[in-house]
């Protein structure tokens, strides 16, 4: 799995952190997404897909 985030689009919602806390975090000051693991282990793939789906800014892209 290959994950990318568009920090310009990110609105700091933190929905991705709720869905996949092992893969995403937020910067303290402005809440912008931090990608902790751009490949993510297999047991995280469902959570990552969920995160990409719920991100209200469509800022997360997932490729197989």
């Amino acid at each position: 799995m290959k994950i990318s985030v568009d920090v310009d689009k990110c609105c700091g919602a933190g929905q991705c952190v709720l869905a996949a806390p092992d893969v995403f975090d937020q910067r303290d000051d402005d809440g912008i997404v931090i990608l902790l693991d751009a490949t993510a282990p297999a047991d995280q793939h469902d959570n990552v897909r969920k995160a990409a789906a719920v991100c209200p800014a469509a800022a997360i892209e997932v490729r197989q």
Partner: protein, 434 residues
């Protein structure tokens, strides 16, 4: 009788909610026919940037696309763009399109969103704008340059965000609202007053507490607005941001229950294999029992996901939609976030930061329980309070929180709008959002 799982799902409305349904169906293993019908000619795009990055010119319209063409292709959709649904026949299980064709379904999702409310008599008047589509934003953008006078009618989300962009582009901005402060419904009086101050500091003239009656015109072009008290305000352009109405006209003769939106049950089912998601859907919220319709971006996606799961489960095994609503708004350098709903809240406490710093997290409560948390420029800290909203936690006593942060009105250069030891409560009865 258990309904067989559907083999033909049709979704009307090709934006955030509709796309979310389609994606979630495929992700959850649905392999049947999937038709997505949208009346706009564009590939599905996102609306929040319309009043932010697209209006300011920071982004061009392509950046608003919700998914790449390849990602859409991979969904195996029968995608009908520029195609308006005009009627629904639940008996036959068919949607009628404007071009006369009909599309069948076993399960239908209404995701037709909402349209901007307009002021009467303004159709076709040059210089009058609403802000709902990419065309609206590009049109308004042309008007925003130094020296141009813009009157904004309404100080809700559209008005407040557009005012910030218009000032950044140098236009002269007057904002007229029937409320006392901008975003009064969504933020309550104290945060609204702070926001008001920020707009004034950025040079916005705010005329509060009065409705706009009419747009004044000369030779078919707007020259200003007339207020309910008889005053007039001159303008080169007028932006009307007075709320949105759910797009349900096409369901009129269908028998689908329609009030303020499509009236669903707690699982977002409106009966007869018809479901709804997004701005157009109303449902009894399991936590409050109140019929609720939410016009915010995250809700569109979450309801889309919920509807997809419930369609696959079938109406008898469908589960209630029980969200913690989320909304954000960007104005100038302020990032505002709200988890939960302020409706009916009767107490507020700033738990981190302060109004004076314009950086804060404020808990909101109703009937002794936490009902919402509002953050200004503290996204990460604000999110950590979300569980209190999700659990509807008992209202924390001051002793549970850092006393330095929780007591009394924050030190502020101007008098706090509501005196007393606690901040004023939020809106007693706000609109359907917030």
């Amino acid at each position: 009788m258990t309904a067989p799982s559907p083999s033909r799902v049709t979704v009307v409305g090709a934006s955030a909610a509709g796309l979310s349904v389609a994606e979630a169906l495929r992700r959850d293993g649905y392999t049947g026919r999937l038709t997505l019908i949208g009346d706009e000619p564009h590939l599905p795009y996102d609306r929040p940037p319309l009043s932010k990055q697209l209006l300011s010119g920071a982004w061009d319209a392509d950046r608003l696309r919700l998914r790449s063409a390849e990602a859409l292709d991979a969904l195996g959709l029968d995608l009908r763009l520029g195609a308006a649904a005009v009627a629904l026949d639940t008996g036959a299980g068919e949607v009628a399109l404007a071009d006369g064709s009909r599309v069948g379904y076993d399960a239908l999702v209404v995701a037709t969103g909402a349209a901007a409310r307009r002021l009467p008599g303004t159709d076709g008047v040059a210089g009058v704008y609403v802000l709902r589509t990419v065309e609206d934003a590009l049109g308004l953008r042309e008007e925003l340059r130094p020296g141009r006078r813009l009157v904004i009618v309404g100080a809700g989300f559209v008005g407040a965000e557009a005012a910030a962009v218009a000032r950044e582009l140098g236009a002269e901005v007057t904002m007229v609202t029937d409320a006392a402060v901008p975003l009064a419904d969504a933020l309550g009086p104290d945060l609204g007053a702070m926001l008001s101050q920020v707009h004034v500091e950025h040079g916005v003239r705010i005329i509060p507490g009065v409705l706009v009656d009419a747009v004044l015109t000369e030779d078919g072009r707007a020259t200003g607005v007339r207020l309910a008290d008889g005053r007039t305000v001159e303008a080169d352009a007028v932006l009307v941001g007075i709320g949105a109405r759910p797009n349900t006209g096409w369901l009129a003769a269908s028998g689908v229950p329609v009030g303020d939106g499509v009236e669903c049950d707690a699982t977002l089912h409106a009966g007869a294999g018809v479901w709804a998601a997004g701005d157009v859907a109303s449902w009894p919220h399991p936590r409050t029992g109140q019929r609720t319709r939410i016009e915010h971006r995250a809700n569109a996606t979450e309801q889309g996901l919920a509807v997809a799961l419930n369609i696959l489960a079938g109406p008898e095994h469908a589960t209630p939609f029980d969200p913690v609503p989320y909304v954000w708004s960007d104005q100038y350098d302020l990032k505002i976030q709200i988890y939960g709903q302020l409706r009916g809240c009767d107490r507020v406490r700033i738990v981190e930061g302060s109004l004076a710093e314009r950086r804060l997290t404020a808990l909101h409560g109703r009937d002794g329980r936490v009902c919402a948390v509002v953050g200004v420029n503290m996204p990460r800290a604000t999110r950590t309070y979300r569980p209190l909203v999700a659990e509807q936690a008992a209202w924390p006593s001051a002793a549970d929180l850092d006393p330095a942060l929780s007591a009394g009105p924050a030190p502020s250069a101007r008098p706090a709008p509501s005196a007393g030891p606690a901040l004023g409560a939020g809106p007693a009865t706000s609109g359907r959002n917030a």
